[in-house]
Symmetry: C2
C-alpha cells in the first residue's frame, strides 16, 4: 500500500482510489443494484425552518387536512378546535345524558368531602373547596378536550401551595392575606398554563419524567398522610412544616392534646373506607360503593357528631359554612411587590404539577377508550378555568386522578358530567352548605388517608429498581427530598438529576464496533452478537444520537481510541488497519462542532495513511455535510455509501487493487 505520508502522496492515492472505486461501481459488485447516497436531496431553507418549528411546537399538527376546505369551514374547524364543546354539543342527546347524569352525581358526592378536605389541607376555609368545584368544571366542560376528566382540587398541589405561601404569611396570623395569595397564585397558574398552551410549550411538562412523578407523588402522599395525624388525633396545634421529622416531633410535642374519641372514630372510618375500596377490587361492578363511601362517611360522621355534640366531647368539627354561591374575588388579587414573588413561585410550581397530573390522567383514560387528547389544548382549558377560578373565590384546580377515575367508571360520555357535578355543588352551596357544619375533621382526615395510600406505589419502585437503577435514583431523590425536606426540594432535585442524565446521554453517546453476521449482509454490534465477524483491515463503527458541540470532543477521543485498539489488534495478526467506516444511520443531526470533529478525525487518519468512508447519512446530516464542503472537498463523494455492505465491498476492492498494483510495481 504505497502511502508514505506527505500531502502529495495522499492526493495521488486518493485519485487512484477514487478511480478504482468508480471502476468497481461500473462492474457492479455483489448482486444488488448499487444505489448511491442521495447527496442532492436538500430542502429549501424556508421549508426546513418551517418543518423544524412545526415538529417542535405542533407535533400533533392540529390543523392537518384543513388545506382542502373552503375558508368558512376552515374557520369553523379552527373554532371547534379551540372550543371542543362546539364539536360534541350538536350531537348531544338524551341517550348520552343518562350516563353523564349518573357520572356527574357520583363525582359530586365525591367532590363535597374531597373539596372540604383538600381546602383544610391547604389551611383554607372549607367553603373554598366547594367553591372550587363549582366554577372551574363549568369552564372545563366548554374548553376541555377530554371526555373523562373530572375537575376539582388536588391534594399534592394544595399542600405545595400551602407550604410555599406559609413561608410568606401564616394562615392563622393573617387569614385574609393568606387567602388572597391563594387566589393570586391561581391567577398566575392560569396565566402560565394558558401561555404555555398558546405557545405550544407542552414540552416543559415533558421534563417531569415518570420516575420523578412516581417518587414525588409517593413522597407527597406520605407527608399528606402524616399531616392527617392532626385530624385523626383531634389535635389543635401542629407544625406548619411538612417534613416527616417536624411532623412526628410536633405530634409528640403536643401529645397532651390527643383525643381518644377522635382516634376511635377515625379508625372506624378508615376501616369502612378501606373495606369499600377492597370491595371494589373484588367486585369491580360495585365501584359506586367506594365512590360514594367518602360522602357516606361525611354524612354519618356529621349526624353522629350532631347527636353526641361531638365538638364538646373531643371530636372537632368543620364549623360554620356560609350559604350562597361563590363571591367575586377579582378585587382580592394582590400584585404588591412584597408578595408577588411568592404568589408567582407558588403559581408556577403548582401549575406545572397540576398540568402534569391533569394531562397524564386525561391521556391514560383516553387511551383506554382509544380517544385522543391534545396536551396543548388541555393546557389552555386548564388555564382558562384557573384564571376564571381566581376571579370567583376558587383556588388551583386540575383533573385529579381519583375523581376522574370514578367519572370514567361511572360511565361518563362527555364533559357534560362536569356540568352535572357543578349543578349539584351549586345546589349544595345554595341550600345545604350549613348542614356540613357538623362534619367531624377526623372524617375528612380518614378520607384523605385512604385516597393517598394508593399513591405510594411500592410495586412501581421495585419495577424501577429492576429495570433502571438511574431511574430508581431519580425516583428516590424525589421521594426522600419530599419526605425529609420540602416538596420543592424533592421536585427540584429530581428534575435536576433527570436533566443532568439527559445531558449526559447526549454528551456520551454510545459507539460500537460492527461485525458481519455470517451468511448475511447485515452488520451488527460485535459485543451484542459475539459471532459477528470483523473484516481484516477495515474498522466499522456505528455512531448514534446527534453529533454536536456537547459530544464532539468525546466522540473524537472515542473514535481515535477505537482506531488505536483496532490497529493494535491488526498488528497482532500482521495486518494494517486501512479503512474506517462510520455508520451514520443513527445520527439524527450534526452541527458545526460535529462537522469540525469529522474533519479532525479525517486529518488524523490521513496522517496514519488511513481513509474514512461514511455510510447512510440521514437527510439532515447529508445536507449539512454537503453544505460545509466536507463531502465534496475533504472526503470525496465516492466515499459516501448507502449501506455498510457497499462500503466494505468498495474498501475490499480498493485494498486488493492497491495490493496487486503494489506487487506489480515491486
Amino acid at each position: 500500500m504505497g502511502t508514505e505520508g506527505g500531502g502529495g502522496g495522499d492526493d495521488e492515492y486518493r485519485r487512484r482510489m477514487s478511480s478504482s472505486h468508480h471502476q468497481m461501481q461500473g462492474v457492479g459488485v455483489g448482486g444488488g443494484a448499487t444505489v448511491e447516497v442521495n447527496l442532492s436531496a436538500r430542502r429549501p431553507f424556508a421549508e426546513k425552518v418551517w418543518s423544524d418549528l412545526a415538529e417542535t411546537f405542533f407535533p400533533d399538527d392540529p390543523f392537518r387536512g384543513f388545506g382542502a376546505l373552503p375558508p368558512a369551514r376552515r374557520a369553523w374547524g379552527a373554532l371547534k378546535y379551540f372550543v371542543p364543546a362546539l364539536d360534541w354539543a350538536p350531537r348531544y342527546g338524551l341517550a348520552k345524558f343518562k350516563y353523564d347524569l349518573l357520572a356527574g352525581v357520583t363525582i359530586a358526592s365525591l367532590a363535597i368531602p374531597q373539596g372540604i378536605s383538600y381546602a383544610r389541607l391547604a389551611n383554607l376555609p372549607p367553603i373554598i373547596g366547594l367553591y372550587s368545584s363549582f366554577v372551574p368544571p363549568l369552564l372545563y366542560a366548554v374548553f376541555g378536550s377530554s371526555n373523562n376528566l373530572a375537575v376539582g382540587t388536588v391534594a399534592a398541589a394544595s399542600l405545595l401551595l400551602a407550604s410555599i405561601i406559609e413561608t410568606e404569611v401564616a394562615a392563622d396570623e393573617d387569614p385574609q392575606l393568606y387567602l388572597q395569595l391563594f387566589y393570586t397564585a391561581a391567577f398566575f397558574t392560569g396565566l402560565f398554563q394558558t401561555v404555555l398552551g398558546i405557545f405550544r410549550l407542552g414540552l416543559i411538562v415533558d421534563f417531569l419524567s415518570r420516575s420523578t412523578i412516581t417518587g414525588f407523588m409517593g413522597g407527597t402522599a406520605m407527608i399528606i398522610i402524616l399531616q392527617q395525624l392532626k385530624g385523626l388525633l383531634g389535635m389543635k396545634h401542629f407544625t406548619t412544616k411538612t417534613d416527616i421529622i417536624s411532623v412526628l416531633h410536633s405530634t409528640y410535642h403536643y401529645r397532651h392534646e390527643w383525643k381518644w374519641q377522635s382516634a376511635v372514630l377515625g379508625i372506624c372510618f378508615l376501616l369502612f373506607l378501606l373495606s369499600s375500596k377492597h370491595l371494589r377490587k373484588k367486585l369491580p361492578k360495585l365501584f359506586w360503593v367506594s365512590a360514594i363511601a367518602p360522602f357516606m362517611v361525611v354524612v354519618i360522621g356529621g349526624v353522629f357528631a350532631f347527636l353526641v355534640k361531638g365538638d364538646e366531647h373531643g371530636i372537632p368539627i368543620v364549623g360554620n359554612l356560609k350559604k350562597g354561591l361563590n363571591p367575586l374575588s377579582i378585587s382580592q388579587l394582590t400584585f404588591q411587590s412584597r408578595h408577588i414573588k411568592t404568589a408567582v413561585k407558588a403559581g408556577l410550581l403548582s401549575g406545572i404539577l397540576a398540568l402534569a397530573e391533569g394531562i397524564a390522567v386525561g391521556r391514560s383514560l383516553a387511551m383506554v377508550k382509544n380517544e385522543q387528547i391534545d396536551g396543548n389544548k388541555e393546557m389552555i382549558a386548564f388555564g382558562i378555568m384557573n384564571i376564571a377560578g381566581s376571579f370567583t373565590s376558587c383556588y388551583l384546580t386540575t383533573g385529579p386522578f381519583s375523581k376522574s377515575a370514578v367519572n370514567f367508571h361511572a360511565g361518563c360520555k362527555t364533559p357534560m358530567s362536569n356540568v352535572v357535578m357543578s349543578v349539584c355543588i351549586m345546589l349544595v352551596l345554595l341550600f345545604l352548605a350549613p348542614l356540613f357544619k357538623y362534619t367531624p375533621l377526623v372524617a375528612l382526615s380518614s378520607i384523605i388517608v385512604v385516597a393517598m395510600i394508593g399513591l405510594i406505589k411500592a410495586k412501581e419502585f421495585c419495577h424501577l429498581y429492576k429495570v433502571d437503577k438511574f431511574d430508581f435514583c431519580i425516583c428516590m431523590v424525589a421521594f426522600i427530598g419530599v419526605v425529609f425536606f420540602t416538596m420543592v426540594t424533592g421536585l427540584g432535585a429530581s428534575v435536576g438529576l433527570s436533566v443532568v442524565r439527559a445531558l449526559l446521554y447526549v454528551a456520551r453517546p454510545t459507539t460500537c464496533k460492527l461485525g458481519n453476521i455470517a451468511g448475511s449482509e447485515t452488520f451488527r454490534d460485535v459485543k451484542q452478537y459475539p459471532h459477528a465477524k470483523s473484516i481484516p483491515g477495515i474498522l466499522v463503527l456505528q455512531l448514534g444520537s446527534p453529533i454536536y458541540f456537547i459530544n464532539a470532543g468525546y466522540l473524537r477521543e472515542r473514535i481515535l481510541r477505537w482506531v488505536e485498539d483496532e490497529e493494535n489488534l491488526c498488528k497482532g495478526v500482521g495486518h494494517d488497519l486501512q479503512y474506517l467506516v462510520l455508520d451514520l444511520g443513527g445520527v439524527t443531526s450534526v452541527d458545526n462542532s460535529g462537522i469540525g470533529m469529522l474533519l479532525e478525525i479525517h486529518k488524523s487518519l490521513e496522517r496514519r495513511g488511513m481513509m474514512i468512508a461514511l455510510t447512510n447519512p440521514r437527510l439532515e446530516v447529508t445536507e449539512k455535510l454537503v453544505l460545509s464542503g466536507y463531502i465534496r472537498d475533504v472526503l470525496g463523494e465516492e466515499w459516501v455509501f448507502l449501506t455498510v455492505k457497499d462500503a466494505i465491498t468498495a474498501c475490499r476492492y480498493a485494498l486488493q487493487t492497491s495490493r496487486s498494483k503494489g506487487e506489480n510495481e515491486v
Copy 2:
C-alpha cells in the same frame, strides 16, 4: 383478517400469528440464514455501571494497557501520567534543546510586551504581567502534556476579570484591594481547574461550542480594540464599561484629552506591525520578524520616548517598574465574605474561558504534529500553575493562541521552551525591568490592536451562516452580547441558547418513514430517497437518538400521527394498515418513560387491530426491554427482528396466511 377488537380475540390472534411466524422461520425465507436478535446478551450490573462511569469520565482511558505490568512499573507509569516531565526529561538532550532555546527566546520577546499590555488592559500594574510570565511557565513545563503550548496571560480573560472585579471595587479607588481580588480570583480559578481535572469533568468545557467561542472571541476582540482608543489617543480618563456605546461615548466625551502625538506614533506602530504580519503570510519562513516585531515596537518606542521626553509631550509612558523577582502574595489572598462572591465568580468564569482557550490551542497544535493531548491532565496542569501563581503575585494564565503559535513555528520540541522563556523573563525582572519605564502606552495599544484583529473571523461567520443558521445565531448572540452588553451576558446567553438547542434536539428527535430501495434489501428514508417504495399494509418507521422522558411524549404523538397518515393513505388504495415496524437501530438507550411510551403505542395499536414489530434494538435497549418484561410479556419475542427485511418478510407471510385462512373460513 379476523380481529374484531376485544381482549380474547387479540390473544387468539397473537397465538395464531406467533405460531405462523415460527413456521415461517422454520421454512427459512428469502435466502439468507435467519439470525435472531440476541435477547440474552446482558452485562452484569457492576460491569455496566463501571463501563458507563468509565465512558463518562475516562473517555480517553489513560491507564489502558497497565493491567499486564508489575506493580512498580505500574506506579511509575501512573506517576509519569501525572507528571509528564518525567516522561520526556530522561530522553532530553542537546539536539532538542537547540530548538527549545530558540523558541523560548522568541516567545520571551513576545511575552514582555504582551505581559505588560494585558496587565494594563486589566488595569493592573504592568509589572504583574511580567511576574505572570515567570512562575506559571515553570510549573507548566513540569505538569503540562503539550509540547507546543506557551504559557502566559490572555487578553479576553484579562478584560473579563477586570469587568467583573470593577463591579466590586474600582482600580483607581483601592488599587490594593483590586489587586488582591485578582490574586484571589486566580486562586479560585486554579482550584476550580484542578478539581475539574481530578474529577475528570472536562465535559463542562464541552458546553462551550465552537460557535459560542467564535462569536465570543470576535466580540471580545472588538471591545478590546475599542478599549485601545484610550491608549492610541493618549487619553487619561476613560469609562470602565466595555460595551461599544459607553466606550464611544466616553471617547467623544473626553475629546479635549486627545493627543495628536500619540495618535501619529500609534499609526506608525500599527503600520509596522501590520506589515510584519503581512510579511509572515507572504513568506512563512520569516515568521520570526512578526514574532519579535512587538518587542521591537516596545524598544524603538521606549528609546524614542526617552529621547523626546515623551511623557511631557503628549506621549504617556508606562512609568516606574520595580527591579526584582515576584514577591510572595499568599498573605494577600482575601476570603472576606464581602468580596469572596465576586472573586469566586470572576475565578470560575475566567477559568472556564481560559481552559477552553488553552485546551483548544493545545489540541489543534498537537493535531498538526499528530500528538495526543489529554484535556483532563491539561486542566490539572493549568490548575496547579494558577494556584502557585496566585501565591506569587501572578494573575490568571493559560496557553494563549498567539504565543503558542509562535512557539510552534519557532520549532519547539518540548515544554522546555517555557523554561527558557521563564529564565529570560527572570533576567529581565532582575536586571532590565526599569528600562521598560519609557515604553509609550500607545506602543502597547498598537500591539494589542494588531493581536486582536485576527480574532474577528469574518470568514468563519459566513461559513456558519451558510452551513447552519442556528449555529450562526448562537455565534451572533455571543458577539452582539459581548459588544453591546457585557462579556458575561454574551457568554451566558450563547451557552444558554446552545443548551436549549441540545435539549430541543433531544426533545424532538427525527423520525422517518422507510421504504424499500428497489432491487435491494435496504430500507431508507422515503423523503431522502424518493424512489424508495413502501410496502402495502406495513409502515416502517426509523427512530433515532435515545428514547426517554423528555421525548417520550413527543414520540408517542408523532408515531401515532405517522400511523394515522399511513392509515388514510392505505384506505385510499383499499388496503388496511396492519403492521408497524419500528427500526430501533439508531436508539442508543431507553429509560422507564420510554418503555412506557412503547407500551402505550402497543396498546393503542392493538385496539386498532394492528401489530408492532421491533428491529435491531441495540445492546442497552435490548437489556432494558427484556428486563422490563416488554419483549417477553407484551410484544412476544417472535416480534423482534434483526433487520427490517426480516420483519417485513415475517409480516408479509403472516398477512398472506391470515388472508388465505380468512378466505378458507369464508
